[in-house]
Amino acid sequence: MKNKIQKHEPDFYILFSTIMLVFIGVVMVYSASSPKALADFGDPLHLFKRQFIWAIVGLSVMILLMNVDYRILKKNAGIIYLITILSGLLIFTPLGIELKGARRWINLGFTTFMPSDAIKLGSIIFFASFLENKKEKVSTFRNGLIPAFLIIGLSTGLVYLQKDLSTSATVAGTMISMYFIAGMPYYVIFISGLASVAFLRFAIFSEGNEYRLERVKAFRDPFADKLGDGYQIVQSLYALGSGGLFGVGLGKSKQKFFYIPEAYNDFIFSIIGEELGFVGTTFVIALFFIIIIRAFKVAINSQDRFAFFVASGIGFLVAIQSLMNIAVVTSSIPATGINLPFISSGGTSLIFYLASIGILLNISRYTIKDRSIKNEHNS
């Protein structure tokens, strides 16, 4: 059965949904950023032009990776991971840039680069190869659990050092999910559940992190302090609410006029809600849902475990980050700074997400036609 599977067309649903999301992203970045771009750069198209170029670059990378056999990645998983880890460390060299109190960017001269986006993908690839190599031993303590959590700790810790809690959570969540489906022992699930609660308590209630507690309070009742800690959430709800069922029309958001800070970034979903209404937000969530479900389907139908873990890892990554972002803007979880994959403005994020989808699409070209059905028959 090995290598017998014919290379075929990539998963159409993923391809279509991704292109739709990127398209919506470019249009919405234009709409949401124009007031800010006009005010700061004198050109309402400034951020749109950049996003458009990133989209072209990102889609090219996606098409390229779609055609590169993913097994090359497997062979080079270690090197890939090493490079992304090193890029993460570059932040602490003079090349690192500090913006708004956080050191998250590297200056490449012509543009800036956010290593955490690279670390996400590098970690998925390396962890997938680790999980495949360990096979059944992943469930053991010494050979599975310890090294797995060392890797998870390394990736997450590197991101956490950049004071980026939400991205750390995304990375950790993605890798733990991968470990979960690989066969994480149940007692670990239980312990890590407790550990996360303990960690969250620490992150929220410990000294020096009072702002997180305020955010939680603001989440409980954002309108109690709508000019202070609740401000962003309240503004986001105003935007979504004003949109109603059909929205106020493309380009006609009022909330983007500085009521929502950086409306083209973490809160772009609110602007989509305001301009395109419930119809628009539903459509965007549906597109994400299609990508996630299809990624899992690709994983299930993949012909080797590396592909299985990479595909499901990418599915988890998209799921965790997009749903977390939407949960924040709908005031379903406390506010945390995380952008919306494929849509929010920002080059590194877009390119690496499209690269991930490229890898996913490549894996989808080597799937067995519907293993799930076969399995059901077998079972």
Partner: protein, 660 residues
């Protein structure tokens, strides 16, 4: 290479269920926000998007009766500071201080405290505004509004009044007609971004401001000038405390002029009018200064009371004639004193040289107190009070100005003692406002009708449509036409032969009555402080104007005929000439009016120069030439230079024919 295990797939499916649940939950949240709570959220959002600004309406313009603008709106500039945008408050304060005429410390305090926007100074000039704009300071902006401007400065200041810095009327018609003048503010509702800039779409809803209505006064700028000039002269020449003048159309109740001297400039009501006042005010504390201002802003004509003195004899005479108690043939005897009341001796003004026997006209012209005491006794307390009230004393004239006083008259006949009745007959023991006095005089002159005096003739809107017309309004008829006619004759005789001769104008039939009263201060008569007045009507055959001229505390002499009469005469003569009332000289007037003159030498002058000279001397001349110009030279004249001539002489002029 191994395929995914069943465990892998089972767990992945479990993960799919979790993801699906999360997605489902988010759909639920979105539906709740965007469908269920949408309206409420949108309402709150709209509240933060929309800002409403009041649009200031333009205040109505005030015109005189001929359409001359007396009060207009001038652009005015207000300086604002956006505190958050000011980078270096110390430097800004230093830069602004000389332009705003506010000390640096004060500016610094203003721009470093308070909320985000602060008014620094209101109504600065265009030059100041431009100077500040050219400094280009961040966070300092200038907005344009309007402020009241009175092009004629203190002219008619007491009628016009003034407004406060926010254009609310404070005094005069600015106050009494404030509701008409101020208009209705408009509203500008605009959608703005988070830093108050207008959004590029869904921009704005504007409810236009409704500008104020315009007033057309009954005041005539020219007559007002005559009145003010005369009042000022009287003030200076008599070294008086103050002078008050009202000129009224007796037929309609329209006030043609109303003036007080000293006055103030309504463009800056708090600035002393002259050096003397400035010095007087220099040492006052703020409360005293405020009192001085309030005193200065009082409109004597309606806000203050005075004892009318002999001008009130008009009322006594009118009552007696109307009641049929006296006529031309009634005679009065004056021996200088009145001793009928036990323990009281009242005396005539000319007690040292009693009037002796006099008929009604003579008694009036002589202003004989004794005759009027007798007249009042004939009329009786009850009837006398009835007429006093009927002429409008003790009640408001309802003139359209603020703060009108009722005056003080006896409440009931039983409040009038015998002495009171006697003194009331010549205008003591009563206190009236000037407007009441002239209104009563007008009633006497116009055939007996008490009118409602008013200073606003018409209210028109922005487009000139009439909003309200103050038509002449008769309150009541007080005396008959025939009594009015007799009164006018008596008034005329007073001016032509009696105490009012200083107001005699050749060519115009002027009627009038003088008055002098000792001032009452704190309820007691004060010696050597007088109020002297003259009330006049002209022309007697068809009264066009009534004039009341009051001089408060003249210091040189105090008889109303001397202190007030000549100035009232000035006003009457100028006004009648201005109104185009022809002068009709009687034979004797022409004779009396001719003056002896010496014929000037005109030879060698041009026609222009010669005619100017002759016009100045009021001498008529004739010339019969076709080919002369203004530059033609006089070659001969008759009568010759140096001869005695009179003003009736007509001079013949001969010219050198200009050469072709």
């Amino acid at each position: 290479m191994k395929n995914p295990t069943r465990l892998n797939i089972r767990r992945l499916k479990f993960a799919i269920i979790i993801v699906s649940l999360v997605v489902f939950f988010l759909f639920y949240k979105l539906a709740k926000i965007q469908l269920v709570e949408a309206n409420d959220l949108k309402k709150q959002a709209m509240r933060q998007w929309t800002k409403s600004l009041e649009i200031e309406p333009l205040r109505g313009i005030i015109y005189d009766r001929n359409g001359k603008k007396l009060a207009i709106n001038a652009p005015s500039y207000t300086v604002w500071a956006y505190i958050a945008e000011i980078e270096n408050p110390q430097e800004v304060a230093e830069q602004l201080s000389p332009h705003l005429e506010i000390s640096e410390e004060e500016i610094l305090k203003l721009i470093t405290t308070g909320t985000n926007m602060r008014k620094l100074k209101q109504s600065i000039s265009l030059e100041q505004a431009e100077a500040i704009k050219s400094l280009g300071i961040n966070g300092i902006t200038i907005t344009e509004g309007t402020k009241r401007y009175y092009p004629l400065n203190n002219l008619a200041s007491y009628v016009l009044g003034f407004t406060d810095i926010d254009n609310n009327g404070q005094y005069g018609v600015e106050k009494s007609y404030n509701s008409y003048l101020k208009g209705t503010p408009g509203l500008w509702i605009k959608s703005t971004d988070a830093v108050n800039r207008q959004l590029p779409f869904d921009g704005e809803i504007i409810y236009d401001a409704q500008n104020g209505n315009n007033l057309i006064l009954t005041i005539d700028e020219n007559i007002q000038r005559f009145a003010e000039e005369a009042a000022y002269e009287a003030l200076v020449n008599n070294d008086a405390k103050s002078v008050n003048v009202i000129v009224m159309d007796p037929m309609t109740g329209e006030i043609l002029a109303m003036a007080n001297k000293p006055d103030y400039n309504i463009n800056s009501p708090r600035t002393p009018i002259d050096e003397q006042t400035k010095m007087d005010w220099a040492n006052l504390d703020s409360e005293q200064l405020q009192n001085e201002w309030f005193k200065l802003w009082r409109n004597y004509s309606v806000n203050d009371l005075y004892e009318p003195g002999s001008t009130f004899k008009i009322i006594t005479a009118a009552a007696a004639i109307e009641e049929g108690l006296v006529n031309q043939n009634t005679h009065f005897h004056c021996n200088g004193f009145y001793r009928e009341i036990p323990n009281v001796t009242l005396r005539c003004a000319k007690w040292y040289d009693p009037h002796g026997d006099q008929d009604l006209y003579e008694a009036f012209a002589n202003s004989c107190n004794i005759a009027f005491i007798n007249m009042a006794n004939m009329v009786g307390k009850e009837t006398m009070l009835k007429y006093i009230k009927a002429f409008g004393f003790g009640e408001l004239t309802e003139i359209d100005l603020i703060g009108e006083q009722r005056g003080i008259i006896p409440m009931q006949p039983k409040d009038i003692s015998d002495v009171n009745l006697a003194t009331i007959s010549y205008g003591h023991s009563v206190a009236v406002t000037p407007i009441q006095m002239i209104n009563a005089l007008s009633a006497v002159a116009n055939g007996g009708y008490l009118m409602t005096p008013h200073v606003v003739k018409t209210i028109i809107d922005e487009d000139g449509n009439i909003v309200k017309n103050n038509l002449p309004e008769i309150k009541r008829q007080v005396i008959s036409q025939s009594t009015s006619k007799i009164m006018l004759e008596m008034l005329e005789k007073t001016v032509s032969e009696g105490t009012g001769t200083k107001s005699y104008i050749p060519g115009y039939r002027v009627g009038g009555k003088t008055g002098t009263a000792e001032k009452i201060i704190d309820g007691k008569y004060v010696q050597d402080k007088y109020i002297s007045s003259f009330g006049g009507v002209a022309p007697v055959e068809n009264p066009r104007i009534a004039v009341l001229f009051i001089v408060d505390e003249p210091s040189v002499t105090y008889y109303g005929g001397t202190v007030a009469g000549p100035y009232a005469k000035d006003i009457i003569e100028k006004t009648l000439e201005y109104l185009g009332v022809p002068k009709e000289m009687s034979e004797e007037e022409i004779e009396e009016n001719t003056e002896e003159l010496i014929m000037p030498d005109l030879v060698g002058l041009t026609l222009l120069e010669a005619s100017k000279l002759l016009n100045e001397l009021n001498i008529k001349y004739v010339l019969e030439y076709k080919n002369i110009s203004q530059e033609s030279i006089v070659s001969q004249q008759f009568p010759l230079a140096g001869q005695e001539i009179d003003t009736n002489t007509i001079v013949d002029l001969y010219f050198e024919e200009s050469k072709p």
